[in-house]
Subunit: 504 residues, 2 copies
């Protein structure tokens, strides 16, 4: 066995011995069952101290290459190799050379048999949302327009809070989330008639996590009432939480409260999930009167209400209708909000407002599912809001989207084929909901895509069959020119689609 | 009805009318059932245009104060009041004055009847972890020492990436997480013998979320094998996911593989969760040989293995034992890692490594439960790592914790009452596990706290009764002097505790 050592300083001898033996072992020069020289022999041969050799042997033992027994010589053992390396340039930095790949051993593990049915279903559905092709105008995304993100200002705020608060923000924080931001939200929500102290607010990782936490809190096997149609991700969240959706039909002014009352008289659900503003997908905002009656029904049947105010601040046509939570005297309403839809999509900060007992439970749940929220981004957001940037940003958003929505409505009037499309004019938000007279079973998404415009088919948002052909258009990422061109194409697509007589 | 308008510019007349009417309505000067002047009358009285009055009425209608019917005069309606305001100074900015609180109506909603049993249990358990009192030395927290957080360097990286990539980082990113960081991790993991491309890596919100996603992927009702004792939060995660833990006993070198084999021959579980390095709570790191046999058993019984490498890089006593994932030729191992335990606790970035089919499913699940991860902090982390700061930080951590662990071991030898305490010397990580000869049913946490030192009782970590008195000590937040003083106090506490003869 030939080993040569480099006596230059900075090259530990034990590491050299280990590396050279490893090469011999990997190449198969040293075979399974073979004995190595004793530590004394090899130490003499190399002119090093015996403990140096022992250290090298020890490391090879810990890697599984050698058997070491007191009083016996080290012996090469049969070792499970490393997984085969693939031709990945990133792997070139590996400090150990790889065993040769053996294709016969690389049998794939059958993950598909291991995953729960829900998980598998999610993957199938995820595959449905392909990105838009070149030149296509897409009305699908509800993300806010990246051109409107106040990146520079936010960057300044981030730098400032890190300079001021440094390490304190990089450790674990309060489990309910960065307190100054909760205080700010308490103050701001008071402007919407919601009375809540910072201890009645939980910061979440976006509003999606907020909903997930509430559904998980209720435990599996519960019946959850919600608008039909509704936000498609909520159906998935309920599925994931093992809950049964109880769809409530909608009228022109929101949930059909007569149908709701009749259904609940038979069997009230464990919770009602509702979007009273700019409902997704229909864009409907309910009236004060509707909200009052809905809350009264919830209180009568003892049904807690989860109010999703995901675009509370996007009422850019000036009507002020207060959230249902503002009338909640009994603590039966959980309110959910977010910054993602109107300010910074990628800064995942949402919040829940609920009675303190409820917030404590939700915080405990979140602690289990992800330990704690980060503090850096909420702190930067707090600095951003406190300096008045949020209010400035909102008025800019209102200005921009008032113009966009007006342009979209004008284009609808101009381009939709007469008598074939109906819509309501929303008071804010990003959504338009078109009711078509064409057949519900046409693949509207493919049909429109063939005309260079992408939309969401209404059928995505219904539990059970859609009551007719519906399209959801989001104007969030498109400027006036894009909106006009997109709706021109959509008008053509609808005009050449089969008419109502084609309905089966 | 007396209204006075200020004709100064910048004070919209409709808003003035609305505000003054609102005050009359709130004060009760205008009563339910009363009719308001027609828009024409009031417009003439105030000398404004009729549409200005109509606008004010419209807004009061949308707030629920008025009934408006075409052809009739506006009438004050009975309106559900806002929830009562509490004396919260933060609420002073509210733009609407509050209705008077009516205590009779403020009946609390019975949330406790609505929450699932699991959620309620979590709150009870959360209450068990009170913060340490003044002057108490606590060995409880496994958070890394905030004094070691490289806050300044990280701040620089954050500022740099925001300057360079700006708005792109503030929008929604890839659903698998910031790609350059995944590429960096792929490269780094190759140094641990793990061959994975960036598409086989999912970034998560800390390793806790990573575990939660894997358990949720499997679906409820599954049996999950794990070490007994184990990380207490994992028991809660399993409970939350509706799964049954299958405890496997441990020996001095990790999972008792004979017991595991015998149990699995009867009924293999759906997954094995294991911590091969610095196992929590025992601090044990398993040998290469143990890892090989464990993987072989998993492959034989078709049991996927979830390897928690939460402190993979904290082997500061120099033994290199590769992760089990490095030997995974069949794709049956999911590996989980995190930056939180060794770098920045509050920057919640962990990761999962698994075959691509599995990562796709996990990404779809995460998309449902929280839409997408943020990109800003992973981008800053990437800049931090790429510039070599991570390696520098790790060698600093190794230096610091080598010294701390040596100090702790020396103090144990010095202060533990002879013959009453046994421990193994860990090769890294933060944990020491003491086996005491005293009674298992003593409240060790309270007993030690009375001596000014906080520990975790071993019973927290066992499913079922603990096999004897055990204490888990974490050295993560304490320097040498604190460790020495803390262990001196602990020695006293143990010395004056009832001896083994007191065991029942």
């Amino acid at each position: 066995m030939l080993l040569t050592l480099d006596q230059a300083p900075g090259k530990p001898l034990a590491a050299q011995i280990r590396a050279q033996l490893l090469a011999l072992l990997e190449r198969g020069t040293l075979r399974v069952g073979e004995c190595l020289p004793s530590t004394r022999q090899l130490a003499e041969q190399l002119g090093v101290h015996r403990t140096t050799v022992a250290e090298a042997y020890q490391e090879l033992w810990s890697l599984g290459w050698l058997e070491l027994k007191p009083g016996s010589r080290a012996r090469v053992r049969s070792r499970t190799g490393l997984a085969p390396a693939r031709p990945d340039p990133a792997a070139s930095g590996a400090f150990l050379r790889r065993a040769r790949p053996d294709p016969a051993e690389s049998v794939a593990f059958p993950w598909e048999y291991r995953m729960g049915g829900v998980a598998q279903g999610l993957v199938d559905r995820a595959a449905r949302s392909a990105p838009a092709g070149d030149g296509v105008i897409s009305f699908r995304s509800m993300t806010m327009d990246p051109r409107l993100i106040p990146a520079e200002t936010f960057r300044g705020c981030l730098a400032r809070v890190l300079r001021r608060r440094g390490a304190a923000l990089l450790g674990y924080g309060a489990r309910e989330g960065f307190r100054p931001l909760r205080e700010y939200l308490a103050h701001r929500l008071a402007g919407y008639g919601i009375q809540a102290g910072p201890d009645e607010i939980l910061l979440t990782h976006g509003s999606q996590q907020a909903l997930d936490l509430v559904f998980r809190m209720l435990g599996p096997g519960r019946r959850i009432a919600l608008e039909n149609p509704s936000y498609e991700q909520v159906f998935l969240l309920l599925e994931l939480a093992g809950q049964t959706p109880v769809p409530v039909p909608m009228g022109r002014d929101g949930l059909d409260l007569d149908a709701l009352e009749a259904g609940w008289a038979r069997e009230p659900p464990a919770l009602l999930y509702t979007m009273p503003n700019f409902h997704n997908p229909t864009g409907i905002s309910t009236s004060q009167i509707h909200r009052e009656r809905l809350l009264a029904l919830c209180e009568r049947f003892g049904v807690p209400l989860l109010e999703d105010g995901f675009e509370e601040e996007m009422k850019y046509f000036g009507r002020v209708t207060l959230p249902i939570k503002s009338m909640d005297r009994r603590g039966g309403v959980i309110y959910c909000g977010t910054f993602s839809k109107v300010l910074l999509p990628g800064i995942r900060v949402g919040w829940l407002v609920a009675p303190q007992a409820c917030i404590r439970t939700l915080a405990a749940l979140r602690r289990v599912s992800e330990l704690c929220p980060d503090q850096v981004l909420p702190a930067a957001l707090h600095a951003f809001c406190e300096s008045g940037h949020y209010d400035q940003h909102l008025s800019r958003m209102h200005r921009v989207f008032r113009a966009r929505l007006r342009a979209a409505l004008a284009a609808l009037r101009e381009f939709m084929p007469p008598g074939r499309v109906r819509w309501q004019e929303p008071v804010g938000g990003y959504l338009l909901w078109l009711e078509l007279s064409g057949p519900a079973d046409l693949d509207w998404e493919a049909h429109c895509a063939a005309h260079g415009v992408e939309v969401c088919a209404g059928s995505r948002f219904f539990l059970g069959p859609a009551p007719g052909a519906r399209l959801r258009l989001s104007i969030s990422t498109l400027d006036e020119a894009q909106l006009r061109e997109g709706l021109r194409r959509l008008g053509q697509a609808i005009a050449c689609a089969p008419g109502p007589e084609a309905s089966r």
